[in-house]
Amino acid sequence: MRRRERQLGALYALPLSVFLGLTFLAPILLVAGFSMMPEKVFDLAHMPDFSAYRTVLAQGYWKSVAWSLVLAALATLILLAVCWPLAYAMAKVFRRFTLVLTIGVVMTLFVSENIRLFGWVLTLMKGGLIEGYVRHWTGIGFDAPLYNVPVIVFGLVYVYLPFMLFPLAQGISMVPDDARQAAFDLGATRWQILREIELPLAMPGIMVGSLLSFVLAAGAMAESKLLGGRAVITIADEVQTAFTYGQNWPLGSALAMVLIAIIGTLAIWAISKADLDAMMGRKS
């Protein structure tokens, strides 16, 4: 029986493993190879000279990297604060409303990100949904809060909210009610319960939600392009520009490798700590 299980497991894993090997791992290796090539070549038949990495350092591309990381960190912190009360309520307070919220939030994921961001442009622009009606009713107009850095963070918070909300709710649902009750009976204040009981026990959910939001936001580009009017150029945007307008594949690859290194380190660290069997409730 054991032997059959082992063979079947390997057999069923084969299609997906081969597919991802050919379409995920191989392309990343190709990018790594191109990143070492002299600039502006379109094949790998050259001596590696790492000049693209020197360009990355010399041309100030680190600013885009720094901006992407700062924006992602800000968005993650705001998301933690915004999602915590709702995740708490979904896990501990609501009954049927949790289902309504879950379906309502998941449904937004199925609408293309750029349609939703475009919707925000229509909402926030001068003569848009908000300014247009305010001016219509009160006669007072104001400038559109678009094309700046805060609105990019706002866009990131908007787009990645589900990726924080659900892991957080999952984490909070693992805090036993008895522990909170006991602390309360012993005279702990609401604040002490949060700091000493809830935050530590919900930490796996907090970590998963924060990493997911951070990693996705660090690789984002549409928010700064559509809402931010490119007030800030993100690293993903630089990668795209180097490949398309710049026609400089080695430079694009080197920039991509920087992004992959940052995100990959975080993701692999997180994934190596996670026990998926326990998280997803495997029986036997």
Binding site: V93, T123, G128, K283
Partner: protein
């Protein structure tokens, strides 16, 4: 330590506010799509639906719809098959490389999609494959097949291995076990994975952007129009894609309900 009435009411209000926040941009797009004016400005003075007629009659939009449907359809069927097999390896069987396999599957989900799209473009180029809507299917699957696997796995984790063993003890062959026990038990997971696969492919933009070559999907066309200046067709076609997703979700829910009705025992 019960949550007080007032606190629960406030939390419900907060939940409704978050939902309103999530849907507000779609309200704007919806209103813009029925505005008669050539240049949009709120409040909208005259409403009509002529842009919908125009969009549906346009050859461009019909071509985009057809390409998006083809891609999403093939991605759906492929991820249901790959996801079903992958989930058995992910959740059901104990085998040597199960943990590394689980981790390999999570990586593409975390990966920035723009970079993945570009890496695939270089890869297709190196292999001498000309990008078209067919290569976009491959690109979508890199991201969607792992998600489908995770969704089926949730179902497979709750699956009692004793059921398969019982069938085998009673003389069923491996193929019979698969057909009579495993597939029916995992079917609800496979169907929801298919639904997710369709919707995620239908709305995907960053992966399509670099991998469709000369072809274009709906989200790609919308993005190109958005950054090149306002056109009344943008909100209209945007709403049509939203309607497509909503229709698919409704069909999925009806299917789930019908399946439960037909087979009350499972």
């Amino acid at each position: 330590m019960k949550t007080s009435r007032l606190a629960s009411a406030l939390l419900v209000a907060y939940g409704i506010a978050v939902l309103a926040f999530l849907y507000l941009p779609l309200v704007s797009v919806g209103l813009a799509s029925v505005s008669k004016a050539r240049y949009l400005s709120f409040p909208i003075r005259r409403y009509n639906t002529e842009w919908y007629g125009e969009a549906l009659a346009s050859d461009t939009v019909q071509g985009l719809l057809w390409i998006s449907l083809k891609v999403a359809g093939i991605v759906t069927v492929s991820s249901m098959v790959i996801g079903f097999l992958g989930a058995l390896a992910f959740a059901r069987y104990s085998w040597r490389f199960r943990k590394p396999f689980q981790k390999l599957i999570l990586l593409p989900i975390f990966f920035p999609q723009t970079v993945l799209g570009l890496a695939l473009l270089m890869w297709f180029n190196a292999l001498g494959i000309v990008p078209s809507w067919k290569t976009a299917i491959v690109a979508h699957l890199v991201w969607i097949a792992p998600i489908a696997t995770l969704i089926v796995s949730i179902r497979a984790f709750g699956f009692d291995p004793a059921l398969e063993e019982a069938a085998r003890d009673m003389g069923a062959t491996q193929w019979q076990v698969l057909r009579e026990v495993t597939i029916p038990l995992l079917m609800p997971g496979v169907v929801s994975a298919g639904l997710f696969a369709f919707l995620l492919s239908w709305g995907n933009f960053p992966l399509s952007l670099f991998t469709t070559g000369a072809d274009s999907t709906l989200p790609e066309w919308l993005f190109a129009k958005m950054i090149s200046g306002y056109s009344p067709l943008v909100p209209t076609v945007g709403m049509l894609t939203v309607a497509g997703s909503a229709g698919m979700v409704a069909a999925g829910l009806i299917l789930a309900w019908a399946l439960r009705r037909l087979r009350p025992t499972t």
